[in-house]
């Protein structure tokens, strides 16, 4: 197996650096503020946990505290954008775009407003807060919205670059982030290319059967661990990270579906409607391929540690290996 040169060289070490990708958002937003005077930031009483505080401290005159009012925050951002500003609105994904979906649809997406929606604390790895705070439907409700892009960065480095990209690109963007510290997968100078997936691990070529593990967001780490184990045990496994969920890198899907016997997607999201569904929607038309979608199976999350929850809902490396083996053996 071959690893991408863009990966952290310590990727399989036990002392790999861990940091939440929201930290990258905070740094990226501050940098965007320095580069682009039109960037403004809004918070709905979650300035610290969305890491908007770095921007708010640097540019207090360009920061708007909306209070606990996500519906208002979305439409205020639309108004700011209509006057030429580049607003970033950050809250927990459960509340934005969860609670304010219609305001996002009508006043941001339909207006093609230049608003960036940051959904922090997405996925079940939010952990102890429980199901009320675990957004596992956000990619589904955002990717069906015309004009909207959906980003899910793998770590803090990619989140920082994606934030700068969002500031530069005109139009609505949704970026989902995670709460807890996760392994830093990439390097500071690794590239982020909008709309392009990246092959983190290429399969061993001398195997008879192979799987392409497609992940989005912070799930790449579990995908890489699983890929390593599979390659070492006689099943060829490629691991590909999709930092952009919409628009989907369909060229990459064309290639992967031709070169592998099985596509396995993994996401911290409902198995229905999210990243895996997008992959299946595309491939079913152009190159029908066996696809296993790992995600939460039509149920709500619960309290627990991130590790306990990922194991319980079948989203860790063990679950990925088990699913791949079972399907390829059958």
């Amino acid at each position: 197996m071959k690893l991408s040169p863009h990966l952290n060289p310590k990727i399989f070490d036990s002392d790999i650096e861990k940091s939440a990708n929201r930290n990258g958002y905070g740094e990226g937003l501050k940098l965007a503020g320095e580069k682009f005077p039109k960037v403004v930031a809004l918070s709905a009483d979650l300035v610290e946990s969305t890491k908007t505080n770095l921007f708010a401290e640097a540019f207090p005159e360009r920061f708007i505290e909306c209070g606990v009012a996500e519906q208002n925050m979305a439409s205020v951002a639309s108004g700011l954008s209509a006057m030429g500003k580049i607003p970033f609105i950050a809250s927990y994904a459960m509340f934005s775009p969860g609670r304010n979906w219609e305001q996002v649809r009508t006043t941001i997406a339909y207006n093609n407003a230049n608003v960036k929606i940051i959904g922090a604390h997405s996925g079940i790895s939010v952990g102890p807060d429980g199901a009320t705070h675990q957004a596992i439907e956000d990619m589904a409700i955002m990717r069906v919205m015309p004009n909207m892009c959906v980003l899910a960065p793998v770590d803090k480095h990619e989140a920082k670059k994606a934030t700068l990209f969002a500031a530069e690109r005109f139009g609505p963007v949704y970026m989902r982030l995670a709460r807890n510290d996760t392994p830093v997968i990439t390097k500071e100078d690794s590239p982020f290319t909008f709309g392009k997936a990246e092959i983190f691990m290429e399969k061993n070529l001398d195997t008879k059967i192979s799987v392409a593990i497609l992940s989005t967001g912070t799930m790449a780490y579990h995908a890489l661990l699983a890929g390593k184990e599979l390659n070492e045990s006689g099943i060829g496994a490629s691991v590909v990270h999709f930092g952009t969920v919409k628009p989907l890198d369909t060229k990459m899907l064309d290639r992967l579906s031709k070169e592998h016997d099985l596509i396995l997607t993994v996401e911290e999201h409902q198995a229905a409607g999210g990243f895996g569904s997008a992959v299946a929607e595309y491939l079913s038309q152009v190159n029908p391929t066996k696809i296993i979608r790992l995600g939460v199976r039509d149920e709500f999350g619960q309290s627990g540690t991130p590790e306990e929850l990922l194991a319980h809902y079948g989203l860790d490396s063990k679950a990925i290996v088990k699913s791949a083996r079972e399907v390829l053996a059958s």
Partner: protein, 298 residues
């Protein structure tokens, strides 16, 4: 303050008449749409676009223009008619309202038509957007005299988002924000006092730190004076509660909530006589310049 002379008032009233006539023609042609709200707000729209607003119909994106947001998008026939009469697009286009391929969508879409400042329809989000615009204008110039006008219905105040926006406007003391509420007392299912009472409305907005004025929404001099006063308030956002008669301009339309969402061409038989439908409705319109000669089509 812009004190209107008698002749200016008369000119605006004639303009409002023309707008009302266009509204009825558009709705008859469309065969669906809202009647009461647009007719009730024709006077205020005429005042805003022909006397109050800094704007340039030939240059709709002029950066220094005032902004007017229509929050209750369903009364867009009055906005479209006024924009056409002001010269934003040809008046003939008004008859494409709600038709396939038209720039005049059933509810306004900013990207479709020049002169629209936003997309609206789902109620309660206009004030938030106006707050965002007012904040942006003030970020660029703390002493800005670029005013952001937000037109809202009374029924839509039942949407909680309105009050989220009001809280933020009050907190930020947005002097350049002027909300105008069409207090016509009706909504789709009945009278607001029965569906969900709003009173004491003035006190509610005062409690949210707004400067509040109440006016007769058909008395153009009174509305104009109130807007002038609102512009002069520099430490608070302003709201003008304009008491209007829904369906104003024709006896058959006035004060009946059933006209909220029905067009003149197609009133349900049980409340509109056949003899009062279609072009007959146009002939019922009161004008300052004699009867309207509207022949029946069939």
């Amino acid at each position: 303050m812009n004190y209107l002379s008698d002749s200016e008032v008369e000119k605006l009233e004639h303009k409002a008449n023309e707008i009302r006539q266009s509204i009825i023609e558009m709705l008859i042609e469309a065969g669906s749409g809202h009647t009461a709200g647009p007719l009730g707000m024709a006077d205020i729209f005429a005042l805003l676009y022909f006397s109050v607003l800094k704007h340039d119909p030939k240059n709709p994106d002029w950066e220094e223009r005032d902004r007017l947001l229509l929050s209750n998008g369903h009364i867009c026939p009055v906005l479209y008619a006024t924009l056409a009469h002001a010269g934003y697009f040809p008046k003939e286009e008004l008859l494409t309202l709600r038709k396939f391929g038209s720039r005049l969508q059933g509810h306004p879409h900013r990207e479709s038509l020049p002169g629209l400042e936003t997309t609206s329809g789902p109620l309660g989000s206009g004030l938030s957007q106006a707050v965002g615009m007012a904040i942006a204008a003030r970020m660029d110039n703390p002493y800005t005299s670029k005013y952001i006008y937000c037109l809202m219905s009374d029924g839509e105040l039942q949407e909680g988002q309105t009050w989220e926006a009001a809280m933020l406007a009050g907190k930020m003391k947005l002097h350049n924000l002027i909300a105008i509420i069409d207090r016509n007392g009706i909504q789709i299912d009945g009278y607001t006092k029965d569906i969900m009472p709003l009173e004491p409305l003035a006190e509610k907005f005062a409690a949210f730190n707004f400067d509040v004025q109440e006016v007769d929404g058909h008395n153009l001099r009174m509305v104009s004076d109130a807007i002038g006063k609102a512009q002069a308030v520099y430490s608070q956002p302003s709201v003008i509660i304009a008491h209007t008669v829904p369906g104003k301009g024709g006896d058959i339309f006035e004060r009946d909530f059933r006209w909220h969402g029905n067009p003149p061409g197609k009133g349900p038989e049980n409340f509109v006589k056949k003899s009062e439908q279609g072009p007959a409705a146009l002939r019922k319109l009161r004008t300052l310049s004699g009867a309207i000669n509207a022949p029946d089509h069939d």
